[in-house]
């Protein structure tokens, strides 16, 4: 089946461009060639038509000229139709003059012949895009109805009318009509498909046929000719009429294996042989009067050819569809490969499922594993499983397209990021027939994104550190002044004492200076608290649960980047505190960041932060941040809040000082303790008294 489509002339881009090119050049030498061949074919066709007349009554069983004209019109652009018709006229004239037909009748017949060809070709060309092919059921159907049935039907009325007007011959109007109608139908069905299919694509395809095909075609031809000869020539006229169907297997063979070309050729061969035999008094169609014989052979051939042409059309359409489908599938799978796409579908009615190879690789499914929601969910990261399950359920309930982003946890422990888009396809009864979807592996993008965000945060942190460095530099400068003075005074005092002439008054002055400088150093340290208090800003009722959620949103990528899950235990109906929300955010942010840093050496599976809020005796709220890190050094429990104390290699030792300052500025208290695993930081803030809310904003 594979090679069938190509030699039978699919409407590929190549053949179309050939047609366009010929359109442009049609008025040059090619149009002359076409016109000449049409005239020649018309003349020969008429001769054949005369030859196939049943003697003694001159009844034409098959009248080819009309079909030749029709085929020529189907194959040429509409613009040159007039050339075709003009070329056919001399041939028509030459043939008819030989038969001693009156000139007026010759003209009338040409008009009716041209009408038939124009009606048929016009309808077909209007309904079928060029080039006309018999490779689709629709095309064959259109051809059979309009060109092979409607056109002869209409033009036959005209024909009979002309005969009647010219008083030509002895037949009645309806006799002429019937004879002409059937002979034209037969001619259209047998000759037009043959001419169109065999001349439509030139002869280039002949060279590409494999030897096996040629052999098969030869066998078919020999078989067909032999059986036709036996049935229509050798058999006695009285033989069983069922034997008439002996050629049928060969005809079907031709249609199935060789498409419309094979079928039309076989029909042609059958038709010519059968008519010729009957005309010469052989075979089953030679028993009755010429008219009856003609009618029955016409009926036989029409009934044989219509289904064969349709069958050939169906066969070609299917093989073409298969090729297109295969090509499309290849294109899609190429796209899927290169874009890390996983295509899949689950058919609930047929209980079938399919997933592209790439998809099975992404999801780590076996090649024959049946897809199901459970199987899919088993691959989804446990943290995303519920959300994904709900999204699928929602999509199913509303029968809509869904899309969600989630993580896969592969058996080797690797996490992949995916976006899934899918749709439930309903059946006619409104139920769900199929679930189709595509999953895109976006791990690379997500990781790049995360990397970028981490870098950005690192930059922000660096700038924060450098501004902290700036602060400490000026702080150090400030502190060094009194320290220098103290050191100088001390050295001076020692010298004076060593000289043994202590000037008491001077000494007293010296010591007063020393204690003043010491006080000043202390004031500088306290200045940090003032700094915090100064930037306090406006206070308002704050729900600490909201602050926790906000901070977790801010730290989302940090937490992902460090693979640290956060568990929240937030008390419902938490009373609000009177505070500056930005400062409380800073507090929590600092504590969570500290926890993250404390767990840097903790194995990934064990990392965890628990944030809880509790309402204590309706007068204060307790917020706890607990980590599972290395914990605080025992002897340093209180020192962690000291200025410039840090357990981190790059720490400034300022974070917790500021945090504590903020908490204390809010009337609260910050503490730290070690729990069985890791450290726990917690602070209490007083609840805003209810009576004290006069400021309504």
């Amino acid at each position: 089946m594979k090679t069938l489509a190509t030699p039978l002339g699919l409407a590929g881009p190549g053949s179309r461009s050939t047609t366009e090119r010929s359109d442009a050049q049609f008025f040059d030498r090619r149009v002359a060639g076409v016109a000449l061949s049409v005239a020649l074919a018309y003349y020969l066709g008429a001769k054949i038509g005369f030859a196939l007349t049943f003697q003694p009554h001159p009844v034409s069983v098959l009248w080819p000229p009309n079909s030749i004209l029709l085929a020529a019109l189907l194959l040429t652009p509409v613009r040159v139709w007039w050339v075709i018709l003009l070329a056919a006229f001399p041939a028509h004239l030459a043939v008819q003059l030989q038969s001693n037909v009156p000139p007026m009748m010759i003209l009338c017949w040409f008009i009716s012949n041209a009408c038939e060809a124009l009606i048929g070709a016009g309808c077909v060309r209007y309904l079928i895009d060029r080039p006309v092919r018999f490779d689709r059921l629709r095309n064959v159907g259109i051809f059979c109805f309009f060109a092979a049935f409607l056109a002869p039907l209409l033009s036959s009325f005209l024909d009979s009318a002309f005969v009647a007007i010219n008083r030509f011959g002895q037949d009645s109007y309806w006799q002429v009509w019937r004879i002409r109608f059937t002979s034209n139908i037969l001619a259209s069905l047998t000759l037009v498909p043959f001419i169109v299919t065999w001349s439509g694509d030139g002869i280039a395809w002949l060279g590409k046929i494999r030897r096996a095909r040629i052999l098969e075609a030869g066998l078919l031809l020999i078989g067909l000719l032999s059986i036709n000869t036996i049935v229509f020539y050798k058999l006695a006229p009285t033989a069983d009429s069922a034997l008439l169907y002996l050629p049928l297997p060969f005809l079907i063979w031709a249609a199935v294996r060789f498409g419309s070309r094979g079928a039309s050729a076989a029909i042609c061969a059958l038709t010519l042989l059968a008519i010729w035999s009957a005309g010469h008094g052989y075979g089953p169609f030679s028993t009755r009067s010429a008219e009856e014989n003609a009618l029955s052979i016409q009926m036989f051939l029409i009934v044989m050819s219509v289904p064969l042409l349709l069958l050939a059309g169906v066969i070609e359409e299917r093989s073409k569809g298969e090729t297109t489908l295969r090509e499309r599938e290849e294109r899609i799978s190429l796209a899927a490969e290169s874009a890390n796409l996983a295509f899949w579908s689950i058919n609930f009615e047929r209980k079938e499922s399919w997933m592209s190879d790439k998809g099975r690789a992404i999801f780590n499914f076996g090649p024959d594993e049946h897809l199901s929601r459970e199987l899919f969910l088993s691959r989804v990261h446990p943290e995303d499983r519920n959300a994904v399950g709900e999204a699928i359920e929602r999509a199913r309930a509303s029968s809509q397209t869904f899309e969600f982003e989630y993580r896969l946890l592969r058996p080797d422990g690797a996490t992949r990021w995916l976006i899934s888009r899918g749709r439930y396809v309903s059946n006619d009864r409104g139920g769900i027939r199929e679930l189709i979807g595509v999953a895109i592996d976006i791990t690379a993008q997500v990781e790049a994104d995360l990397q970028l965000r981490l870098q950005r945060e690192e930059m922000a942190r660096m700038s924060r550190v450098s501004s902290m460095g700036e602060l400490t530099a000026s702080l150090a400068h400030e502190l060094n002044q009194p320290l220098t003075a103290i050191a100088s005074n001390a050295a001076a005092g020692r010298r004076l004492l060593a000289q043994g002439t202590p000037d008491l008054e001077m000494f007293e002055e010296l010591l007063a200076d020393v204690s003043a400088d010491a006080r000043r150093a202390g004031d500088i340290i306290h200045g940090i608290h003032h700094f915090v208090r100064k930037s306090e800003g406006r206070r308002c009722p704050v729900n600490l649960n909201e602050i926790v959620q906000e901070v977790l949103r801010l730290l989302h990528s940090d937490l992902l980047g460090r693979a640290t899950p956060v568990e929240t235990q937030l008390a419902p109906n938490l009373p609000s505190v009177d505070a500056n929300p930005v400062h409380l955010q800073q507090v929590l942010l600092n504590l969570v960041m500290n926890s993250l840093e404390a767990m840097q050496s903790t194995p990934i599976g064990k990392r965890r932060i628990v944030i809880s809020t509790t309402c204590e005796d309706s007068s204060s709220v307790l917020v706890t941040v607990r980590d599972y890190g290395s914990g605080l050094p025992k002897e340093d429990l209180d020192k962690v809040f000291n200025h410039f104390y840090s357990t981190k290699p790059n720490g400034m030792g300022m974070g917790l000082t500021i945090v504590r300052s903020i908490v204390e500025a809010h009337g609260g208290k910050l503490n730290a303790e070690n729990s069985d695993e890791g450290a726990r930081f917690f602070f209490r803030l007083p609840v805003k008294p209810k009576s004290e809310t006069p400021e309504v904003i």
Partner: protein, 210 residues
């Protein structure tokens, strides 16, 4: 070493630092003056003796290194010891390259400071003495007549009297007289001393005519 001949100046914007340092310097036996800014120091009349300048790097207005450059242009003999709240290496290196005696980071040890001051005064005094020699030599050279000065330059160049006479188109005897007078005016007895004093005075040797 008379106390009047040397002075230590402190330039720092912080009053307690100034007070502490003045007290320390006094206890070590130095005369100390304090200034709260570089501008204030520049306004002081130029001290003629050996001078050590304790200079803060970071101050409002003119910064320490900028004052160092200004003083270099003025060509005075003070030697600078920088004292700074935060010692950054590039600033220290630049200061030392430009001739600072030391670069101390606050808070420093009192004795360390005294040692630095001692070194600075010694260097200042050396510079001062050199400058005195130069001034003396120059004033003597200025007493020479133009002709005697010409002869001096040829002598410094190492020419014999005969050659000098040829250069100046005069008799060898005349040159001999001029030369004797130069020796007398400059107060030297040997050619070696003559060359040395010419160097102090910055006399350049004459160029031989091609």
């Amino acid at each position: 070493m008379s106390p009047a001949a040397e002075l230590v100046c402190v330039v720092d914007d912080d009053e307690s630092v100034r007070r502490g340092l003045r007290r320390l310097l006094k206890s070590a036996g130095y005369t100390a003056e304090t200034f709260s800014s570089a501008e204030e120091y520049l306004a002081r009349e130029i001290f003629q003796g050996a001078l050590c300048l304790l200079l803060d790097v970071r101050m409002p207005g003119l910064k320490g290194p900028a004052l160092q450059e200004a003083l270099e242009e003025r060509g005075t003999c003070e030697q600078i010891v920088f004292i700074t709240g935060h010692g950054d290496v590039p600033t220290a290196t630049r200061a030392m390259k430009k001739g600072a005696v030391d670069f101390l980071t606050k808070p420093f040890d009192g004795e360390e400071l005294i040692q630095a001051v001692k070194r600075a005064l010694k260097r200042s005094e050396e510079r001062l003495r050199n400058r005195g020699e130069r001034l003396k030599a120059r004033s003597r050279v200025e007493k020479l007549t133009p002709r005697e000065f010409e002869v001096l330059r040829f002598v410094v160049m190492g020419l014999l009297n005969k050659q000098i006479a040829a250069e100046l188109h005069t008799a060898e005897k005349t040159v001999k007289v001029h030369r004797g007078r130069v020796m007398q005016k400059l107060g030297v007895t040997s050619v070696a001393d003559l060359v040395r004093i010419s160097q102090w005075a910055g006399v350049s040797p004459a160029r031989k005519r091609a």
